[in-house]
């Protein structure tokens, strides 16, 4: 093995003694990961079983597990890293060797993540954010080292960044003039706040899971009663000789089902909020906003301030009445696989959000700012959808399908929703930043600094053109391709003037 290592060009910056391996508990993690992975092996097992060679099943499984373990052990053996004076070197690969050097200067930040097993073992996964274009999978990471070692590594890298001559700081860094030496706590969530947030996160998504589980356990449970099944409520009523009463008062069953639905919705909302946001802390560090959160899986994510492209404030029609809002930041990096934008304030008051926005040099438009509105024609899409729905319903009724009345009843609701939503489309301009808001059920305000805009589309079509309208669409790094930032249906001259102003900033920069 040492011969193979020697085959690679020796790295002068790293002494032989500096090489370190991952925490031995990585092997334990590999065993844990084997569980889900052996599912891949099931078809092979089934094939053996179908062939009638049942005696071979256990040895085959054993061989598979053994090979996996040996491979995990080998890759652990062949993975080593060294922290040099101003770079980190990682060597990996069992057969194909890979030697990677990351200068500290290029590491934007170090993220630390701990799953449930990792927390029990006191180890953590360390990721290096280098800002390479390839996304998450190209970023280097150390799968598991001791938590203390991880934090020490982060301190080393951050200390290096602190002492190094700052690379010709661009003017855009004005967001943090004082360059706080101490980490300041910007936002935290108490259990009480989590409970309130969970109540607003009412979700029936869990219902599908519970329903499926209930179907599964229906025959397993010793008692034949499913509280989620309205028919069971009717059964129980009959059992107590209440059938005649129940026929007259069928709503009892309905109320029982509704209460159980509400309970599931609130309980799953609260549970999900607690799991995701337990001990939520957002701190300001010299270059980044750092967020730690999570009950079972704790994540520690840093968002470099200079890479923030836009701020998005989301709320709901109900939670807005109570003054609750959510702040997301759009950045080049995405927040894990599912979330495109970084959630930095999951549930807070506007006066808690403002200080966070101030850290990234963005200010909300004041209450006195006049908002310009989009033309009501934006409701047209909804109207067309409603028309199509109604048409579909009518066709179904004409064909003798009584269910056709359902789309026919929904169509006016769609149209009304589109019409009301159209009133919420608006935009305003605050020095070198454009604010766009939209949505009625889920109001959303996007704060987009001119400096983030990469390209501008001015789009018209055969409907907007006769009305003298145009849609402005901004190309902004990060975020999802579907959720592009646009100001729909504003007067052509206004759109053109705004485009000129947005792009004029670029020449001054």
């Amino acid at each position: 093995m040492s011969e193979a290592a020697a085959a690679l060009p020796a790295d002068d910056a790293v002494a032989e003694a500096d090489w370190r391996r991952l925490h031995p508990a990585t092997l334990l993690l590999a065993i844990v990961k084997l569980g889900p992975r052996s599912v891949n092996f099931l078809p092979a097992l089934a094939a053996i079983g179908i062939a009638g060679k049942w005696i071979y099943v256990v040895p085959a499984l054993g061989l598979f597990l053994l090979l996996s373990l040996v491979f995990a052990w080998l890759s652990w053996l062949r993975f080593r890293f060294a922290v040099g004076a101003d770079e980190i070197v990682i060597e990996s690969g069992v057969f194909a060797r890979q030697h990677r050097t990351i200068p500290f200067d290029r590491i934007q930040d170090v993220s630390i993540e701990q799953g449930l097993v990792a927390r029990a073992l006191g180890i953590a996964k360390v990721g290096f954010e280098t800002g390479a274009g390839g996304g998450k999978k190209d970023d280097a990471r150390l799968d598991a080292i001791g938590l203390g070692a991880a934090q020490a590594l982060r301190t080393t890298i951050r200390a290096h960044r602190g002492t190094a001559v700052p690379p010709a700081a661009p003017a855009t860094d004005s967001a943090s003039p004082e360059l706080a030496t101490e980490d300041r706590l910007l936002f935290a969530m108490s259990p009480k706040r989590l409970l309130v947030a969970g109540l607003f996160n009412f979700s029936l998504a869990a219902l599908a899971v519970v329903g499926a589980a209930m179907q599964l356990f229906d025959n397993v449970l010793p008692f034949d009663f499913n509280i989620f099944n309205p028919l069971d409520w009717i059964d129980i009523a009959e059992e107590y000789g209440l059938d005649r009463w129940v026929v007259a008062h069928r709503w009892v069953a309905g109320v029982g089902a509704a209460i159980s639905l509400l309970f599931i919705g609130f309980a799953s909302g609260i549970a999900m909020t607690f799991l995701a946001n337990w001990d939520f802390r957002l701190t300001r560090e010299p270059r980044a906003l750092r967020r730690t959160r999570g009950l079972t899986t704790r994540t520690d994510v840093a968002l470099p301030v200079r890479r923030v492209q836009a701020a998005i404030i989301v709320t709901g029609w109900l939670r807005r009445r109570f003054g609750w809002h959510e702040l997301r930041l759009q950045s080049l990096a995405s927040d894990g696989e599912k979330e495109k934008d970084h959630q930095v304030v999951p549930f807070g008051r506007l006066d808690e959000i403002d200080p966070v926005l101030a850290e990234i040099g963005i200010a909300r438009p004041g209450a006195d700012r006049p908002w310009a509105h989009s033309h009501r024609i934006v409701a047209l899409g909804g109207f067309v959808g409603a028309g199509a729905t109604a048409l579909g319903g009518l066709v179904a009724i004409a064909l003798g399908q009584l269910t056709g009345w359902i789309p026919l009843a929904i169509a006016p609701l769609i149209a009304a929703g589109a019409w009301i939503s159209a009133h919420f489309h608006g935009w305003t301009e605050v020095e070198e930043m454009v604010a766009i808001r939209s949505g009625w059920i889920k109001p959303k305000t996007t704060l987009l600094p001119f400096a983030s805009v990469q390209s501008v589309d001015l789009a018209t079509d055969f409907i907007l053109r006769p009305l003298g309208l145009a849609t402005l669409r901004f190309g902004v790094p990060g975020g999802s391709a579907l959720g592009s930032h646009e100001i729909p249906a504003i007067p052509l001259e206004t759109a053109r003037a705004l485009r000129t102003r947005v792009l004029a900033e670029k020449d001054a920069a």
Binding site: Q454, T460, R473, S484, K506, D507
Partner: protein, 176 residues
Amino acid sequence: MTETIAAHPIDPFAADALNAGEGLDPVDPAYTHVLRIATLLKALPVAIAATLIDMLAIRPEGGPYGLLTVAAWLLGTIIVVTFPSRRAQRWGFKIGDGQLRVARGWLFRIDTIVPFVRVQHIDVGQGPIERWFGLSHLIVHTSGTHNSTVTLPGLHSDLAAAMRETIRRHIQTDFA
């Protein structure tokens, strides 16, 4: 900044004032032929398929034999003869003043501006049909999620190369 807009207060989306009227340069007239051949290559299989369906399915069934064939070929001919020149006319571009402007389409017209300093990298490409007419297309990549690539077809190959050089100089000076 964009003198093109200030100097031409004509409605840029009026059908008759498309290119010169809004201060855009037209693409090379030969691009019409490129579009026509590309359209032909797409329409031909459809027309042939329609003919085959007519012969193999409608004739044995005793349907209106010949109707589908005539309709498909007639429609195909109209599309190949008339549409490409119109589509090529709708393309317009303007380079200069630190930004590239590309406009396209009529029913849905999109007028895109990309400042040179926002360009990540540039491609100049040439397909086999384009090569035949000495044309190239320019592809500009930005870091925006929307408009991550802006394509401008129908440029004479020398012009495309010259535009690439113009834009490239700006990229070099603004690397932060």
